[in-house]
Symmetry: D2
Subunit: 324 residues, 4 copies
């Protein structure tokens, strides 16, 4: 397994295929294309898949929307709807399912604030079920939501806060939303990943040590993630590869250069870059300039998707009415 940092299953697969020129063993892949977006379902089915992908067994669905960054309202609505459909399939929820939405990340660091922003916008209803002592409703399901913050702000492991809340409120399902790091800048804010494996320790932006999994919490955890930064080391690495590629086709100097680089394995090269960058890059993010606006837009798209997936009485026609 490579040490290249990515939270996206499609990128782990890509890295493997670039290196070994074949499909990852222990992994099933299915793709569905439409005009504006493509949906890739990567299923890790056994230990060899886990090992090569560096991710636990389970389903990883990626919704790719190249034009998402400059999307008009129609495209945004379309993505919310695709997200709602895939989410519903993974969550297997019905109108009696009690869901807790967890917004992970640090609200003070813009590219890490996606989770808390979604929590601010999602339709929360549990208080009405309590107030009217109801078990079910004609249009909405029982939904609560919390942004536990990060350890640097609270001094408390995020997973402990969530476990405390789960024990008190006993939801049937958890949906955790997090900002991710991608390998390629093209994926930043154009890809949404949903998975039924929860959140593994060490994923997301920053050194969150949380693990929000069914094992730990006793409740199924579906994770929604969107890459909002790229790792500086992968950016340098990819740029060097592009340069080499562009030189290969040039004069003798290029070919010589290329043959040298050929001798260094992908893994070695990445480690080298990482080592060189580490001392002064530890806390650097590479992020789109207009990240404030992107996070805002994404949080609405995702909150709308969640609202449609969870609340049986909310559909595309009226979903924008419920956004906060």
């Amino acid at each position: 397994m490579f040490n290249i940092r990515t939270d996206l299953a499609v990128e782990s697969r890509e890295i493997y295929r670039e290196a070994y020129k074949r499909e990852v063993p222990g992994v099933d892949v299915e793709t569905e294309e439409s005009e504006n977006c493509s949906v890739t379902r990567v299923k890790i089915i056994d230990e060899s898949g886990e090992r090569e992908m560096g991710k636990p067994k389970g389903m990883y669905i990626t919704i790719d929307v190249p034009k998402l960054k400059n999307a008009d309202q129609d495209l945004k609505d379309e993505i919310s709807q695709v997200l709602a459909k895939e989410l519903k399939a993974l969550c297997k929820n019905n109108e009696n399912t009690k869901t807790l939405i967890v917004g992970l990340g640090n609200w003070n660091v813009t590219p890490d604030a996606l989770g808390p922003k979604v929590v601010e916008r999602v339709l929360v209803t549990r208080q009405y079920f309590l107030a009217y002592k109801k078990d079910s409703d004609d249009t909405v399901a029982n939904v609560s939501a919390i942004s536990p913050g990060v350890m640097g702000l609270t001094g408390i492991e995020t997973s402990e806060i969530v476990k405390g809340v789960v024990e008190k409120t006993k939801p049937d399902l958890i949906i955790a939303v997090d900002a991710l790091a991608a390998r390629r800048m093209e994926r930043v804010s154009t890809t949404i990943q949903i998975s039924d494996t929860g959140i593994s320790p060490g994923s997301g932006i920053g050194n969150k040590r949380i693990g929000l999994t069914k094992d730990y919490l006793g409740v199924p955890v579906v994770a929604i993630g969107v890459p909002t930064v790229v790792d500086a080391a992968t950016m340098v690495n990819d740029t060097m590869d592009l340069i080499i590629g562009s030189m290969k086709n040039q004069a003798e100097i290029g070919s010589e250069f290329y043959s040298v680089l050929e001798q260094i394995s992908t893994e070695e090269k990445y480690s080298l870059i990482r080592e060189v960058l580490e001392p002064f890059m530890l806390n650097v993010v590479v992020t789109p300039k207009e990240i404030d606006i992107i996070i805002d837009d994404l949080s609405i798209i995702i909150a709308n998707g969640i609202n449609m997936a969870l609340h049986h009485g909310i559909d595309l026609k009226d979903v924008n009415r419920y956004i906060r």
Copy 2:
């Protein structure tokens, strides 16, 4: 007991004394004056005190700083220090005490955001005690902090979230910070109340039904509160009293008016106002125009006070270095 809404023990006492022209039974009062501030310690000692004050037995300390709104740095530092001293006396903490700070209120409603803002600024250290597996430290104590939000945002009772966190992290002490409603506009943002009785259901701004008490949480709860709004009904009530007062001294019309008003008891009058205002005033706040800046200033003063009270190695000389 009057139905006039106030979270301040000094105001409950004031209302009683205005009506009955004597000290409240079951209550001990002690006052300490200095150049810039006065400290009033109201101790409710028995059931009669509880009944007349409408508040549970315990100590209620009020720090009044008339010039707080336009305070310079020296006065702010002085208040932080007075707060630290009174807080330390109530908390009875030492360098081994593990404290959880709870910031109550809704961060989206400016005058209700005091608690969350203090939590953002206080020095949180529990993560280092965990990381270095230490039990004590030369300069700082073990402090964690959380802003649980309000039920309208999360769908979860605030007290349940706090109890979940308390069960997981086992603090020895809780300090809860909340924005309060006062009866008099003069008290808004010039009074700090500290009490060892925790937070009773129904106090604070908005209809929080939480109770954060030792009984419920199993850990002592010290509450810090600052009024940031006045109740619209009390404002109208007080204005009418002032008008009547000013008319009493005028021509015959005043005296007649006055004698009419005399016939209505204080309680009746307040109920009348409340009833009239209710339909369209339910969600109105009366608050200083520059409330955004006031909340910012207060959160620094209180966070500094808490930092000095909890961390044995932080004193006035360097407290501003630890503020976030």
Copy 3:
């Protein structure tokens, strides 16, 4: 003319009619009702109208939407459209009109931040006309926008900043957006006033001394205003009137009380309240609790209305795509 503070022409008219039981002289009134909103066009036609209304000659259009506070997306879109229609009629603009949008108010004081928020959201295009050296476009008109701040923040008269910008950029039309003070809490965030008289010195929240008028700027100024606060004195005044009203129907005490109050004229009573409140109410606002959210919603509705009124290629179908 009464000294009761209101920025709304419909309220000035209301006050006059309450006092004199007849229509204001020198004023033409026209009303149009629909299911969700009513549009009132008050035209001040001569000096007697100016004197009695305390406002300069011109057209004052009020859009009243009682359900605006809890509006769904359809109602919001409807209001944007009504606003666009009325605005277009007042502005008499076409696709070659160059418009400067001015967002008045202090972005640090939530209820005063409406103007700056609208400016953040409106579709600004002048830079493209400059970059491509074009005079006209198929879908958009030439629009620029500025939030000049308030004198307490900049040390500069707002009107001077605007005049400087007007001299440099030579727009054909100015649309100025401002938060207003209303007399009645019911009007707060449910009423939009448009007028072709610009902004008079002393209107809006806070003591802005600006006058943004055609006289001063040399360009027609259309003003859009929404009340976001009520004056504390008018609130007390109105409450007292309601109390008296409710007492009138009660026992002998009421009738006596009422007859006393009858002897005080409306004007006297208001002055009395103002005098009593002044010392400690100078900087108080009375505002809905959820004002942060209300301002956000209103800024989108108004920005959408402006976008449809100014840009010939933007209509209801796609207006939400252009909002920032």
Copy 4:
């Protein structure tokens, strides 16, 4: 002259010296070291200096504070004081000087928001001089301040807005504050540059085409800038150089690789990287993770420095009292 993007004169000099192994002609350099900071004064004295440095003639003072990112209050105060001293020397202001502070940049893009944040915090007094019709004061000078926004927000050239304000308010001096792009990540938020040459078109973050110079505005312009981002291309470039450096000392593969790279000139290499990165990096920033907090801290340090430099009655003892 190299095409490598930097707004810092010390970096332009560094690049020249790296390439030609000698001091830049037409440039005088003077350095002053103290325990916590070093001050470098680069004076471009003639056309050859202008050409090689790519910057207009004038004085460029750099205050370098390696520990600024984790500074305690004492260090922050020290830097404010050093800044005040250097600023005063460049501005040649006295207690009768009327100063306009201009905060450049986009307040919606965190690393570009330094200028507007400083403007929010600086002590603005011009309104009192107007209100009391005074020409001078015992403790403060006449200061106004404006954040004109960026063309993408307003549709108006920033320089035109500033010129309009200058014509209306007639200041004697302009201080313009801007966020810069640096070549080295180490300089981000640890370096403050002051210069008496104003702001040249194309500097700062983003493609601002403004030029705020004495020539255009008719008033001396002193610029204060702090790098808050690095250019992605320079980051990749520098990383590649570091990698080559670390390989040189290794086995035969390194030496071969190195000799290849030797054949490519610095300039060629940078162009190559830029070309490769351009399509997908156009709007990317590389910035510290905790940039929100850094910008906050820096804006206080700079506002304090400006306050002490401009207001004769404010010194280190009380400067923190005047910060907003």
